[in-house]
């Protein structure tokens, strides 16, 4: 188990802290990815859809 990072001293990874937020680097990566996927889902036209502007 040595080298697994679970032997003392255990050092936490870096995190972004603001108010009650305490987001680790993986947290920030996932949150950023969610925003990117959400924006792309809105922006990319759906194949086979009707893209005529109704106005």
């Amino acid at each position: 188990m040595n080298g697994s990072g679970l032997q003392p001293p255990i050092i936490a990874g870096s995190a972004w802290q603001y108010s009650f937020f305490n987001l680790s680097v993986p947290d920030l990566i996932v949150f950023g990815l969610m925003i990117v996927v959400f924006v792309l889902a809105i922006a990319i036209p759906f194949p086979g859809g009707d893209h005529n502007d109704p106005h």
Partner: protein
């Protein structure tokens, strides 16, 4: 003399409330042609993988998933399915929140979705406690104080592996399955929510969100 018959009245109620063309539609409104409408079904697909990998894990148990290569594989599959489940569920939540999906009598669909979200957090939490590794011990020891502080520590003991495991593999999945069924049923019953009316630039909402059909022989301007 007319006989009231509960099977007949139930059948009539079902036919009246949820006709089959609503339950199993073969066409969808044109506004569903967007990737935004895929987040719900992606959440559902992740849930299927959670159940499949979870059933395999529960058959063989912790002694297997910690030491066997195949056990590690299914343990990881279960973990990553949960990541995908929450990832797409939160995107589904954003999408439905931003289009105010509770409109048009769809409030119970929205409420069922919220209940699913909260139950899923509880299921994820009991899952972390069921890992039987250093992580689960850390989460249990840290979390028990929070549970005690809100007064549920007496019957919800995070350090009781059997209780957490039982909740995780039986009670919570059953509740989530039931609520997913209700959620999907309500979506089918009320249909997919239409997009919000567009602002026409003059401070008025344009209720004619979908353009009227173009008559035969004419082209859209």
């Amino acid at each position: 003399m007319t006989h009231t018959n509960w099977t007949r009245s139930l059948r009539n109620w079902i036919e009246r409330t949820v006709p089959m063309e609503h339950l199993l539609p073969d066409t969808m409104p044109s506004y569903v042609d967007s990737y935004v409408y895929l987040f719900g079904v992606l959440t559902l697909a992740a849930f299927v993988w959670i159940i499949v990998s979870g059933v395999i894990l529960v058959i063989f148990g912790p002694d297997w998933w910690h030491v066997s290569a195949i056990g590690h594989f299914f343990n990881s599959t279960h973990f990553w399915s949960v990541q995908a489940f929450f990832f797409f569920m939160v995107l589904h939540l954003w999408a439905q929140f931003l289009m105010a999906a509770w409109r048009g009598g769809r409030h119970w669909t929205w409420i069922a979705g919220w209940m699913l979200f909260l139950l899923s957090i509880l299921a994820g939490f009991t899952g972390y406690l069921s890992q039987t590794n250093f992580d689960s011990q850390w989460v249990g020891v840290q979390g028990k104080d929070a549970m005690n502080s809100v007064g549920v520590g007496g019957f919800f003991n995070l350090l009781n592996f059997g209780q957490m495991y039982g909740l995780h593999v039986f009670l919570l999945p059953m509740l989530i399955l039931f609520l997913i069924g209700a959620h999907l049923f309500l979506v089918r019953k009320h249909g997919v929510v239409e997009p919000l009316p567009l602002d026409d630039g003059y401070g008025k909402k344009n209720r004619q969100r979908i353009a009227p059909p173009v008559p035969e022989g004419e082209s859209r301007p």
